[in-house]
């Protein structure tokens, strides 16, 4: 309620420009938010993005407003935005309070993992920028659901998601993370159930968990020195995944963004984990 009131109040500020959708200046913060705006065909209105927005390619030529947890009130206002479209991961809260006090027009989009979260984001972002998101949401949902039956038929693989393995004990995902949600959706089960978020994994626990597959983000795999480098880490060397050399990597924002590319990311990871399974090919989409 309060947010909508603020939005209404704020929208009055650049009222003259707000009326002309074509001239609108959007600043998007959060990878999934930015991808969705581009997928909805409003990419040409985006004038700046945060450092987590690296897709699609045109975002890399746009001014950077910095990391999404360290936003700069005056920097954002200096871009003369008609709308700040922020993931609810954006912060710090104190800086957002300054932006609200200054009457900056903003919409906050709840983040989340899973198909429901993806479609909710698309609809909310569509409403905020005056575009109908139902078609896009429906397409993504259809692509996602096309994988449901074939993946349900597979034996779930015991897997761990390794955030980084370059230094010390590997940092692995527990429950309640985007990585956890993606593993469950891809015919794998995250065998780390003891904690939430990311924690270092000891060699003993790794041996006990006995994961059959190790999943990483591609840049983290490269940083750790490729598959050989990762498997050199004591904690991972003792696992069945290491014996089978089953280490798969997918680009981070693609895999964990839960934006419009989520269905294709799901298929990509599932195909890597289950190379022999017969998964339906998804139609090519403009936004993937």
């Amino acid at each position: 309620m309060r947010r909508r009131a603020l939005l209404g109040l704020a929208a009055g500020l650049p009222a003259a420009r707000f009326a002309h959708a074509a001239e609108r200046r959007l600043v998007t913060v959060g990878g999934a938010v930015t991808e969705t705006v581009f997928a909805l065909g409003a990419g040409d209105q985006v004038v700046a993005v945060d450092s987590t927005s690296t897709f699609p390619a045109p975002t890399r030529r746009l001014p950077q407003v910095g990391y999404l947890r360290a936003l700069a009130p005056e920097g954002l206002i200096s871009l003369n935005p008609d709308l700040l479209l922020l993931s609810d991961e954006a912060g710090p809260p104190q800086a957002l309070a300054v932006l609200r006090a200054a009457g900056a027009p903003m919409a906050v989009i709840p983040d989340g993992a899973g198909l429901d979260a993806v479609t909710r984001k698309i609809i909310r972002i569509g409403q905020a920028i005056g575009r109908d998101g139902t078609a896009l949401a429906g397409t993504v949902a259809a692509d996602w659901q096309a994988l449901d039956a074939p993946l349900a038929a597979l034996r779930p693989l015991r897997a761990i998601f390794v955030l980084s393995a370059a230094r010390g004990a590997p940092l692995v995902s527990g429950r309640s993370t985007h990585a956890d949600a993606m593993l469950q959706a891809c015919g794998a089960e995250n065998c780390v159930r003891d904690f939430q978020g990311y924690r270092p994994l000891s060699a003993e626990s790794a041996a006990q968990l006995a994961p059959e597959a190790i999943i990483m983000m591609d840049h983290a795999l490269a940083e750790a020195g490729g598959i050989d480098g990762v498997l050199r880490a004591t904690a991972l060397a003792v696992t069945p995944a290491a014996s089978a050399r089953r280490v798969v990597a997918v680009e981070g924002s693609y895999l964990l963004g839960f934006g419009p590319r989520a269905a294709h990311a799901r298929r990509a990871l599932a195909a890597l984990l289950h190379p022999t399974a017969n998964l339906p090919a998804l139609p090519g989409r403009d936004w993937v």
């Binding site: 500020l13 650049p14 700046a48 450092s51 001014p63 950077q64 407003v65 910095g66 990391y67 947890r69 360290a70 936003l71 700069a72 009130p73 005056e74 920097g75 954002l76 206002i77 200096s78 871009l79 003369n80 991961e89 912060g91 710090p92 809260p93 104190q94 800086a95 309070a97 300054v98 006090a101 200054a102 009457g103 900056a104 955030l163 939430q196 978020g197 990311y198 924690r199």
Partner: protein
């Protein structure tokens, strides 16, 4: 030339505290004006005029300048005031600690206040939503500053308790107690970071780098009271701190209540620094470097060093914040990074220069 030699010696600048402090005040005013006028959001002279006219009640604000009014009045003005107050507090607290410990390396971190504030702030970031659920809801954006303020004061209190034996606070004991309290707070902070999730770890990192980006008008009166008043109190301690420079026994014979002065100075410095970092996160090097600058130029008399450090610390933090929000626009550098980037090389130069002087 011959005549010049027998002429009465010219009064040195250091003997004219009023002039020096007036210069400091002018510098601070100029820094604050720059802080309000400049930044990544360009304000045209017309916009500035319109906002001023509206502020003075001369003419209503045209809609075209609504953004300029928000930038000047909502974002920059409270931010510059906060930077000035907190910079003054850090500068004066640093000068007082260096005087009290008679140690050029002393800074407010030595009395545990920064480490204690950091521990409490990290606890607020990690447990904010869960453990303090109800309180967090009621306190909202005030929870983290409140926690950091209490944490900073608690650490200093613990340190002075540990450093006081038989009613006497020995400087060496106090220093060692400070080292121990810092180590303990650091260890507990590490423990909390271990339990934090990825996002919290990022938040903690940015908090320890310092930022004035969250400055709002509602914080200004709080900072004026909790940083500004203790700063004035520290400045009033100039005479007893001068006496302490001679040594504790000498100060006692000069009629100073040495123990009382120590306790008041530590308490005021702790309040000023804790309240400052509570709102900004850690900001290094202002408290260490600024008093040295003053001593270098005008000698170690506290009647110049204390108020001078407050004025120069304020000006420095205002300018560092201007740089922080301008250099990486539309993003922002952490202000603690800017002060350390300016302060560390200067401090090294100071060390080298001092070493050369001794040799």
């Amino acid at each position: 030339m011959h005549i010049a030699r027998i002429a009465p010696p010219q009064r040195r600048l250091a003997d004219r505290p009023t002039l020096i402090l007036l210069g400091g005040a002018v510098l601070l005013m100029a820094a604050m004006a720059a802080g309000v006028l400049f930044g990544p959001a360009r304000i045209s002279p017309g916009g500035l005029g319109a906002v001023l006219a509206d502020f003075l009640g001369l003419a209503p604000l045209p809609d075209a300048f609504r953004r300029d009014a928000a930038v000047l009045g909502v974002i920059r003005a409270p931010r510059v005031l906060m930077a000035a107050l907190i910079g003054a507090g850090l500068g004066a607290a640093g000068a007082a600690m260096q005087g009290l410990f008679r140690n050029p390396l002393a800074d407010p971190g030595l009395i545990g206040v920064s480490a204690g504030a950091a521990l409490a702030a990290v606890a607020a970031i990690v447990f904010g939503a869960t453990v303090f659920g109800a309180a967090a809801g009621a306190l909202g954006l005030w929870m983290l500053p409140l926690a950091a303020f209490i944490g900073g004061l608690a650490a200093t209190l613990l340190m002075t308790r540990l450093g006081t034996v038989g009613g006497v606070t020995g400087v060496a004991t106090l220093l060692l107690a400070g080292v121990a309290v810092n180590a303990l707070a650091g260890a507990l902070t590490g423990l909390l970071i271990f339990t934090a999730d990825d996002r919290q770890v990022r938040d903690i990192t940015f908090w320890t780098l310092g930022s004035l980006a969250g400055s709002r008008w509602e914080q200004v009166p709080v900072v004026a009271a909790l940083v500004g008043l203790p700063t004035l109190g520290l400045i009033a301690l100039a005479r007893p701190l001068d006496a302490l420079l001679l040594g504790e026994a000498e100060a006692f014979h000069l009629g100073q209540k040495v123990e009382v002065v120590k306790r008041i100075a530590v308490t005021l410095a702790a309040i000023a620094v804790a309240a400052g970092v509570a709102f900004t996160g850690l900001i290094g090097f202002v408290g260490l470097v600024v008093p040295h600058l003053l001593r270098l130029g005008f000698g170690s008399g506290h009647r110049i060093v204390l108020p001078g450090s407050a004025l120069l610390g304020a000006a420095l933090l205002v300018l560092a914040d201007l740089a922080a929000r301008s250099l990486a626009a539309p993003a922002e550098l952490p202000v603690g990074v800017v002060t350390a980037l300016l302060g560390a090389p200067f401090f090294l130069w100071l060390l080298r220069r001092r070493a050369g002087g001794v040799a």
